[in-house]
């Protein structure tokens, strides 16, 4: 019986002109955004490559100078965008594009695209992912709001009942048939997206896997909307009331929930201002962490330890450069303090992200949005992974320059020199983005929320079938 219902629903939906018109309209919008987004991602990749290469060349061709002075020239590193970022740029517009690595201080990324956007962007951004997570559910609502109530209004439900219809088979058959028809209409867009991304970025296996997971997640997400829409259509007596309810739900899920979640997250777990953040780091470096003593005390202790280690009476007698050693010691301490504060801040970002999911009580869109960003590698977790790798690289090249400085000077001299061979010997920053398994681990909470919504939607669908009367 359910097979017949699926078959009937599939073909009826395809024959319904609404699906074709709405599907084609959305296809045009989707392809438009995807093209624009793909070009933007390609352009960003090219820019990052070009700027990175120029910066490296400038680093390599520095004149003969003190290695520490060379280190102060700094190195720019860039987070590579996955091809999936063309579908969902995630946090890219709000996070900087490059990270400047310099001695003594850890930085945030610079140059966020949203700062360069036109005035129109302040009224909300339209992206490919917006089409996928906001507009397509609206298409589902438009297609399904009357799927059962219309049967009631037209009398077919009475006919079906008279034949001993199994109402569970009816509602679940409708769900499967509708999703099948919807997937068929959506498939040209998906195929086009895949071919475009393959052509533009030469997709890696992991990127292909991420795309597959993203597609699967979106199908799950659409199934939630479809199941809820059919349940509402069965529950409410008229199509008009059903449509009103579903539009309210869509608004709550797509627009109100995320904003509500963000407001609550900021209220319950606020971030420090930039001024407070940097002041706290400076204070901890100056005064020291938990009994470490202040800056002066730590330096005195280090000097004493160094003199004892090399069995000399003064800094000037040291066989290695004291200035560099002392700087390395202070940098090490500074890095520890920076790591503490950065981790605390990023932990709070994650806490806020989790708290934001409270907004998911109004609908699954927030969790889907978050999952989509994670699978695209454009979320906080991937950003943190990149920043940690960049910080490790910062330690590497700063320590390397300090090693040259220390080894090429004695006592309190400041005359160590480095040359182009030294600069060229610094290894390039080679970053391997985490794989899709990492993404799935980071998205556990989003997956739990989506699964909970799916189960709730299916339960409601089943309950609505029980009270389905002509």
């Amino acid at each position: 019986m359910i097979g017949a219902i699926v078959h009937k629903e599939f073909f009826s939906t395809l024959r319904d002109g609404r699906l074709l018109i709405l599907g084609c309209s959305l296809l045009v919008i989707f392809v438009g955004f995807l093209l624009s987004s793909t070009l933007q991602t390609q352009q960003l990749r090219a820019e990052k490559l070009s700027v990175g290469s120029t910066a490296k060349q400038q680093w390599d061709t520095q004149s003969v100078k003190n290695p520490h002075a060379a280190a102060h020239y700094g190195i720019y590193v860039f987070k590579p965008d996955t091809a999936v970022a063309a579908l969902d740029p995630g946090l890219r517009p709000f996070i900087g594009q490059s990270l400047w690595l310099e001695p003594h201080k850890r930085n945030f990324e610079r140059f966020n695209p949203s700062a360069d956007e036109t005035l129109a962007h302040r009224f909300g951004q339209m992206t490919t992912s917006f089409v996928l997570y906001a507009l397509l559910p609206l298409l589902i609502v438009a297609l399904t709001f009357n799927t059962i109530s219309q049967e009631r209004e037209r009398g077919t439900l009475r006919m079906l009942h008279s034949l001993g219809l199994n109402t569970q088979a009816l509602v679940f058959g409708k769900l499967v048939g509708l999703l099948a028809a919807f997937s068929l209409v959506l498939s040209p867009a998906l195929l086009l997206a895949f071919l475009l991304l393959q052509e533009s970025f030469n997709l890696s296996t992991d990127e292909g896997l991420r795309l597959g997971l993203l597609l699967l997640s979106f199908l799950l997400y659409y199934a939630i909307f479809a199941a809820l829409a059919i349940a509402a259509s069965a529950y409410f007596k008229t199509s008009r009331v059903t449509l009103f309810f579903l539009l309210a739900f869509w608004l709550g899920s797509v627009f109100i929930g995320p904003r509500l979640g963000a407001v609550l997250a900021q209220a319950w777990s606020p971030n420090p201002s930039a001024e407070v953040f940097w002041a706290a780091i400076k204070q901890d470096i100056d005064l020291g962490l938990n009994g470490d003593g202040n800056h002066e005390q730590r330096n005195k202790a280090f000097e004493a330890q160094l003199l004892a280690q090399y069995h000399v009476n003064s800094k000037d007698e040291l066989p290695v450069g004291f200035v560099s050693l002392n700087r390395q010691f202070n940098d090490h301490y500074s890095s520890r303090v920076h790591a503490l504060h950065f981790d605390r801040l990023r932990d709070n970002f994650m806490r806020q992200q989790h708290l934001t999911l409270i907004g998911s009580s109004l609908g699954p869109s927030l969790a889907m949005r978050s999952l989509s960003m994670t699978l695209a590698g454009m979320d906080l977790a991937h950003q943190r992974h990149f920043e940690d790798a960049a910080e490790e690289y910062r330690h590497y090249f700063i320590n390397l320059t300090e090693d040259w400085d220390r080894e090429r000077s004695h006592g309190t001299e400041r005359n160590a020199k480095g040359e182009s061979n030294d600069w060229r010997s610094v290894k390039d920053f080679s970053y391997s983005p985490p794989d899709s398994l990492f993404a799935l681990q980071q998205a556990q909470l989003d997956l739990v929320v989506l699964t909970a919504w799916l189960l709730a939607a299916l339960l409601l669908l089943s309950l609505s079938a029980k009270r389905l009367t002509p």
């Binding site: 017949a4 073909f11 009826s12 008279s162």
Partner: protein, 264 residues
């Protein structure tokens, strides 16, 4: 054994305790100003109705709106449960053996509701599949033809069908089900005289093949033409029953109007 039986069926709706917010507000106001409050009355949609229909027999039930004709038919389809009494098909209670009973029943409402985006053949095949009857496209076409639907309409979408054509698809479903009993709710309402006459002939033919038919209608002419017996319902009660062959049309009309006007 009769195919269709209605045994002392009463269907009572107790509405006295149901009040809406609006009614509560209005009644509060009326109490305040000393006026009598509005109260919903309990009412009986069916009041101790009993009759039976043998194999090959057609019984027409006539009566004005709200007399209980459709409620009687709905009871067989378990759309409502009687407060007391029971309805039976071939001796089986419709409520206790609903799945078996539904398999024995064909139901044709006033407007046979079909899926507009599907063709006549597709509708017939779909409804038959839901009734656990697998029919081939060829058989579906044959059934539609036998029900009087022209061949070129078989593959047209039902959205373009007239009411009479839909009734024919409904008849084809009933035939495909090989139903023992047919329940018709205002089947000729809205049909032109020629189509109504044709439909009446097909009902009679179905009965002659052994089907028991219960037909609720306003159409006295049609009832007299098709039925073996005619019953008049009024306020949920079966108040009179005639042999359709012996009763004169004028007499039937007179009785019907007398009950409708409260003169009988």
């Amino acid at each position: 054994m009769p195919i269709i039986e209605v045994n002392h069926v009463t269907k009572e709706y107790q509405l006295g305790h149901i009040t809406s917010l609006k009614e509560n507000v209005v009644n509060s106001y009326r109490r305040l100003v000393g006026k009598p409050i509005h109260k919903r009355e309990d009412f009986k949609a069916l009041d101790d109705v009993s009759f039976s229909i043998e194999q090959g027999e057609v019984v027409g039930i006539i009566g004005h709106n709200g007399a209980g004709k459709s409620t009687t038919i709905s009871t067989f389809l378990t759309f409502n449960r009687p407060t007391s009494g029971e309805v039976l098909i071939e001796g089986l209670s419709a409520h206790e053996h609903s799945a078996i009973v539904r398999a024995k029943i064909a139901y044709l409402p006033e407007n046979v509701a079909l899926y507009e985006l599907m063709t006549g053949v597709e509708n017939l095949t779909f409804f038959c599949t839901l009734a656990d009857i697998n029919i081939s496209t060829e058989l579906a076409r044959q059934l539609l033809t036998d029900s009087g639907l022209q061949a070129d309409a078989h593959v047209k979408r039902v959205g373009s069908y007239s009411k009479g054509m839909r009734q024919k698809v409904g008849l084809a479903i009933a035939t495909a089900k090989n139903a023992k009993a047919m329940l018709l709710d205002e089947p000729t309402s809205g049909l032109d005289p020629s189509a109504a006459n044709d439909f009446a002939g097909r009902i009679r033919a179905a009965a002659d093949l052994g089907m028991a038919v219960l037909m609720a209608t306003h159409d006295l002419f049609n009832a007299k033409q098709v039925a073996d017996r005619i019953g008049i319902m009024k306020q949920g009660r079966l108040v009179e029953e005639f042999d359709a062959k012996t009763v004169q049309h004028d007499e039937l009309e007179h009785k019907y109007l007398a009950h409708a006007r409260g003169l009988a």
